[in-house]
């Protein structure tokens, strides 16, 4: 397998704060990678660096062998990197269909508005939003807005999809539906990075996990292995707990 995305020693400073500090890892083609870490660990900053929203202040981001560290967000989007936002970002006054069509038209290579609408409809069906197509996006519930985020991203024909807490704020039924969708997307050959707080979600879905803490990469590997790593337990539950339970969290 070859790396689709490779981070080489990337850093991002905001004034005196090292939000992400010399992080290196890579994502293989077809993989589902879990990106976890406590609040403020730098997960979202890392995604913002990859998508060009906040370009790295040090190091390089390579996508499919090409350096994308200096590209602007829309250029990166057109290369096939899509993301969903932790705080959903629909175009509220546009219809659900138009929202998804935007992804197809501007990044997914649709030839015109009609083709974009057709592609959008496919992805709305896939995400279970087809009967909402003509409603304004503002009328959707949170769970459905999250699915709309997914539909928008899929309409971009992504090669790498980054899901920033798509499951936060959802109830257990909604979560298992969302997980089903993510698995289906992965089956289509899309490489996925899942950013999550919910351990259960990460464990059940990821092939591999990367752990950030205070902007630094503290562990990576198989999910089970990583969760029994001492530094990971320290990061989440404190040093005292780690010393008392050397074999990991119950």
């Amino acid at each position: 397998m070859t790396a689709l995305l490779a981070l080489e020693d990337v850093s991002r400073r905001f004034g005196g704060l090292n939000a992400v500090d010399h992080v290196s890892f890579s994502v293989e083609k077809g993989e589902i990678l879990g990106l976890i870490g406590p609040n403020g660990a730098g997960k979202t900053t890392l995604i913002n660096m990859i998508t060009g929203v906040h370009p790295p202040t040090g190091g390089r981001v390579q996508f499919d062998g090409r350096d994308i560290s200096k590209l602007r967000p829309h250029q990166i989007a057109r290369l096939g990197l899509a993301r969903t936002f932790q705080i959903v970002q629909p175009f509220p006054k546009m219809t659900v269909l138009e929202n998804a069509a935007a992804g197809a038209l501007f990044a997914g290579g649709a030839g015109g508005l009609d083709e974009a609408h057709a592609i959008a409809r496919e992805h709305l069906t896939f995400t279970g939003l087809a009967d909402m197509a003509d409603k304004p996006a503002a009328a959707l519930t949170l769970a459905k807005r999250k699915r709309l985020e997914l539909a928008k991203s899929l309409a971009m024909k992504p090669r790498l999809l980054m899901l920033d807490e798509v499951n936060a704020g959802l109830n257990p039924t909604e979560i298992s539906e969302a997980l089903g969708l993510i698995r289906k997307i992965a089956d289509q050959g899309v490489t996925i990075i899942v950013i999550e707080h919910l351990m259960k979600v990460v464990l059940s879905i990821s092939h591999r996990v990367v752990v950030l803490h205070h902007g630094q990469l503290i562990a990576q590997g198989e999910p089970r292995e990583v969760l029994s790593d001492k530094s990971v337990i320290e990061a989440y539950l404190g040093a005292k707990y780690a010393a008392a339970n050397p074999r990991g969290a119950p």
Partner: protein, 309 residues
């Protein structure tokens, strides 16, 4: 298709006006078309992209002066109008590059000072522009009635062209991208919209027809001076008209232009001294009670009527 039919029918009806109207009516209709151009142009950047521009006065004055100076150098009138439009377009593209990264109030303020800057440049270069003395334009050697007709048709054609451009743009990829930017610029660029060039395109579109309108206006009134063509009201009125008619709609600007013009005529005739205060009052009332314009009110009524049936 419905939009095209509406546009052609309205324009054709207006075009018959010289057959029935007197010169006063013709002058009003010319101003109406000019206002429609200013409002429709502002709608590209303010309504579609959501960037509240106050640069309309700058574009208008720049077009007027460019054309006036060129005509005094001996360029034929039509050619001078075209060149004025092109100059304004390029100016807006360059200016957009400098200030379109600003958002909201910051952009509004930056766009507001452009007219002041140009006005100062004109004031300090009397050899080229006549400075504070103003500038005379060549007089057409045709009758007063013929002139009135000529400039009415010029303004009407420009308003037609501007609205036709709006119809095309609204249905295009550009229009779609601009609506995305208006609603959430960050999300739009993550979806692959090149926000920077789209905004610059909208800003340039909001300039080119205004520049030509300024050029036609200069020829029409034969004499221009900085306080006239760089008037701040030229930047405020388009916004009022669009808010009156309906933000981001195709015929809202023209409807707003008609309402504002009727209002102005009424207020000027009856309350000459307070017309500026009256204008201020409409803005406040509009923003507070009718943020989506009169067109939206009509549309809601219409929808309710249909629903009741």
């Amino acid at each position: 298709m419905k939009n095209w039919i509406t546009l052609i029918v309205v324009a054709a009806m207006l075009a018959t006006l010289p057959l029935v109207g007197n010169n006063y009516l013709l002058r009003l209709a010319s101003i109406l078309c000019m206002y429609a151009v200013l409002a429709q142009s502002w709608n590209f950047i303010g309504g579609l992209a959501g960037y509240p521009s106050f640069a309309t006065a700058a574009f208008f004055g720049l077009g007027a002066y460019t054309s006036a100076i060129l005509q005094n150098q001996g360029l034929p009138m039509m050619l001078a109008w075209g060149t004025a439009g092109l100059t304004t377009l390029l100016f807006a593209a360059a200016l957009g590059g400098a200030i379109l990264h600003l958002r909201g109030h910051y952009f509004a303020i930056a766009s507001l000072i452009v007219a002041e800057m140009l006005r100062e440049i004109v004031n300090t270069t009397p050899n080229l522009t006549g400075g504070g003395m103003g500038l005379n334009l060549p007089i057409m050697r045709i009758s007063v009635e013929a002139q009135a007709r000529y400039f009415f048709y010029a303004m009407l054609s420009l308003a037609f062209l501007c609205t036709a451009t709006a119809i095309v743009v609204y249905r295009s990829k550009l229009g779609f991208g601009l609506r995305c930017i208006q609603q959430n610029e960050d999300a739009a660029s993550i979806l692959g919209v090149n926000a920077y060039s789209y905004k610059t395109a909208a800003f340039s579109l909001s300039a080119v027809f205004v520049g030509i309108a300024g050029a036609i206006y200069a020829s029409w009134v034969n004499y221009i001076e900085p306080p006239d063509v760089f008037d701040i009201l030229l930047a405020v009125k388009p916004l009022v008209m669009v808010l009156l008619g309906g933000l981001g709609t195709i015929f809202g600007p023209a409807i707003g232009a008609l309402i504002l013009l009727m209002f102005e005529e009424f207020v000027w005739r009856n309350f000459l001294t307070v017309h500026a205060a009256a204008l201020g009052l409409i803005i406040v009332v509009l923003v507070l009670f009718l943020p989506n314009g009169l067109l939206s009110l009509l549309r809601e009524r219409f929808a309710r009527l249909r629903g009741a049936r």
